[in-house]
Amino acid sequence: MKRFSDHNEHLDTDLNIVPIIDCFVMLICFLLFTAAFTQLVFLEAKLTSNTAAAAVKSRSELDQFRLVITFEDKGLRLATTGSSASKLNELLPLKEGDYDFEGLHARLIELKTLYPDRYSADVEFKNKNAQAVDYERIMKALDSIRHLSDEEYGALRVAQKKIGNLELSETEKGKVVSEHLEKLTQSLLANETARNADLKVLFPDIALVGME
């Protein structure tokens, strides 16, 4: 009985949280030193000879659809050929003296909407001033051609949920989906091949023609 009464006694103790704060501070210092705020990633492209036929693509596939992005002195040329493609030959002029990669990306989203089950693109270099193209511009081109940005992909997921009448989270409800991304989502979901593939990619199978 005495034991019970001992336990019921009120203990006026303070929890010593100084060690846990010390641990937190040390952990934060450690994380700050080791955290990688930038991440090394890579974008893959194949090197091909002068003709895209040399690429690892079947001849029939190229006969049906071929998308070519060409670096020219005046800008970026976007061209499509093939039996299942409407012929396109468009120049995206230089914007403030530099290649318009944003414009290229926007046009490629439109093209992907038209051809949702096509994944390959060729990049050619036909500029006389070879110094105008450098590693950064090649990377920007690959980045624009290959996939949607994280933000665009987020918007696409929202559009996908809306089409499927799925419930949206509070953050998703506030997200504005642009018209061209909405059209892209509809096109991708309507196509069986595209529906089952990674929705984030545009034209990931890139061949660099005449790079070597």
């Binding site: 700050l32 194949k46 070879a130 290959r146």
Partner: protein
């Protein structure tokens, strides 16, 4: 005088440091840092003297032989073979020997990997963002002549 001392003593005895807010802040910082840490990253170190261009996205898992191009030279798997001034690969500082050494090093890697059935023709290219197209063409021509056809262009993604 006596009353003032008494008051001060009384105040000191009742003083308690409010560290709840401090703990809250520390926990939030901790969560933020844990969230921002990149869990998957490429097994590659950024080479010295190279400013890598930024990209919005890319792949993080993949291997390959490492080819680095900076204004000062061209390296193969971490070893500099071609010494240049301002990307001038046509006239390397170490002359024709530089190109010979680079070719020999690439050939040695290919032979070694082929003997172990590991050769897949994939190359991790890390170049300075200002590397001109003709320099890339020249270096990649050499790499392709040894069988490297899949080029993995390395960039930096900001989290």
């Amino acid at each position: 005088m006596e009353s003032t001392l008494k008051k001060r003593k009384h105040l000191e005895s009742n003083f308690e440091l409010q560290i709840t807010a401090l703990i809250d802040t520390l926990v939030i910082i901790l969560i933020f840092l844990l969230k921002s840490i990149a869990t998957d990253t490429l097994e590659l170190e950024q080479s010295k003297g190279i400013t890598i261009p930024s990209v919005t996205n890319g792949m993080t898992t993949g291997t390959g032989s490492k080819l680095d191009i900076s204004a000062e030279g061209v390296s193969w798997n971490g070893q500099t073979y071609l010494q240049t001034a301002e990307f001038d690969v046509k006239k390397p500082l170490n002359g024709a020997d530089g190109w010979k050494a680079l070719n020999a090093a690439i050939a040695a890697t290919v032979t070694e990997e082929k003997a172990e059935n590991k050769f897949d023709g994939k190359l991790l290219l890390q170049a300075d963002k200002k590397t001109p197209l003709p320099v890339l063409q020249e270096v990649l021509k050499t790499a392709k002549s040894h069988g490297y056809k899949d080029i993995r262009f390395v960039g930096a993604k900001y989290n």
